[in-house]
């Protein structure tokens, strides 16, 4: 019975619609468990100029290749009014590879300079229609989605990036200009819903 329910849940997530550009940030009050030991919400993270939500985890090879750029982006834009958070929605692994202890260790090893929090019930992932990691959602200061997708066009190497999708989107947002590429795609690991 549990198996059938899980299958139905996965099916519904796979076919649930991803948040459209222009949509409002959902579940801003949903309480997340941060590695600092504090409970926080997207409302707490929200920046003066915009908010960046990164669905991530500890073990996905694509996350591991890309996460150096999480730090670079946070370094470049946190002080410019962009609120940043990495959200781990892999509830099925909260007792294993994505436990709070493992997340604390992972953040420490990779120099995370932003909150990294568990999403109880994977509620944010459901609300965003997020299905994989890493996956990026950028909101403007009115909490409307302005960009979603990948960080850039090269997971393998920051040095070989040709298209800096996310940085370009944030720069345009801060300059009050239109974001030319509002969505992008990349391969990624499935979010491990319970």
């Amino acid at each position: 019975m549990k198996h059938i329910f899980s299958t139905m849940l996965i099916f519904s997530v796979l076919f649930s619609k991803e948040l459209e550009i222009g949509s409002s940030m959902p579940l801003m009050d949903h309480q997340l468990s941060d590695i600092s030991g504090k409970s926080l919400s997207l409302k707490d993270i929200k920046g003066k100029e915009g908010t960046l939500v990164i669905f991530s985890c500890n073990t996905c090879p694509w996350v591991i290749r890309w996460e150096d750029r999480y730090v670079t982006i946070a370094d470049a834009y946190a002080t410019k009014g962009i609120g940043i958070i990495a959200v781990n929605s892999n509830e099925d692994r909260f007792d294993g590879d994505d436990s709070m202890d493992e997340m604390i260790q992972h953040a420490k090893e990779n120099g995370y300079n932003f909150p990294y929090a568990q999403d109880p019930g994977s509620k944010l992932a459901y609300a965003f229609g997020a299905t994989k990691t890493p996956h990026i959602y950028l909101f403007d200061n009115d909490d409307k989605l302005v960009y979603r997708g990948a960080i850039d066009d090269n997971a393998k190497s920051a040095k070989k990036v040709e298209q800096t999708y996310l940085a370009d989107a944030i720069d345009a947002l801060l300059a009050g200009e239109d974001i030319s590429k509002k969505t992008s795609k990349a391969l990624g690991c499935s979010i491990k819903f319970k």
């Binding site: 996905c60 299905t131 994989k132 066009d153 393998k156 990349a186 391969l187 990624g188 499935s190």
Partner: protein
């Protein structure tokens, strides 16, 4: 286009002594689709994008291999999305699972590769497409792991189209 042909032409075939059954080529999406087109009129094609680290991919993998062996009118084409340094691991995995047909490793930027195979694919793995035997057109596709029943239903459809 020219680049795609060249890439296919110069695809790196990796053969290990005594293991000539595994035929693993590096290619972009165009090269892969050209291979799929070459089977039009001969066989239905099941294209499955997977990776060694992808748990749901690995879980459904043996079932797909068995379907390929069982159904004569079906050609199964596995495409690994692993990074190039995992080539040996990919080769070993294919060999261990008894994959004898043509397989590929992705050599293209993610977004171009994803949209090249199917514009409605989000990039989530595994990803499966079925091409009709006679039409050569896409009959069905889905992302994520699926049941054997679903695979059999779509294969049946692909063989009749």
């Amino acid at each position: 286009m020219r680049n795609s042909f060249l890439q296919l032409f110069f695809s790196i075939f990796i053969f290990f002594p005594g293991c000539s059954k595994v035929d693993l080529a590096v290619s972009d999406s165009k090269g892969i689709l050209e291979y799929v087109s070459s089977l039009k009129g001969e066989k239905a094609v099941l294209l499955n994008v997977w990776a060694t680290w992808c748990v749901p991919c690995v879980e459904e993998f043996p079932m797909i291999v068995e379907l390929g062996k069982e159904i004569e009118e079906l050609d199964v084409v596995f495409i690994s999305a692993d990074f190039e340094e995992q080539t040996d691991a990919v080769y070993s995995f294919l060999k261990k699972k008894g994959v004898g047909g043509k397989s590929f490793m992705k050599e293209e930027k993610d977004e171009t590769f994803i949209n090249g195979l199917h514009p409605e694919w989000s990039g989530l793995l595994p990803f499966t497409i079925l091409y009709g035997k006679n039409s050569g057109k896409i009959v069905d596709f889905w992302e994520g792991k699926e049941t054997e029943t679903k695979f059999r239903e779509s294969i049946k459809l692909a063989i009749t189209q």
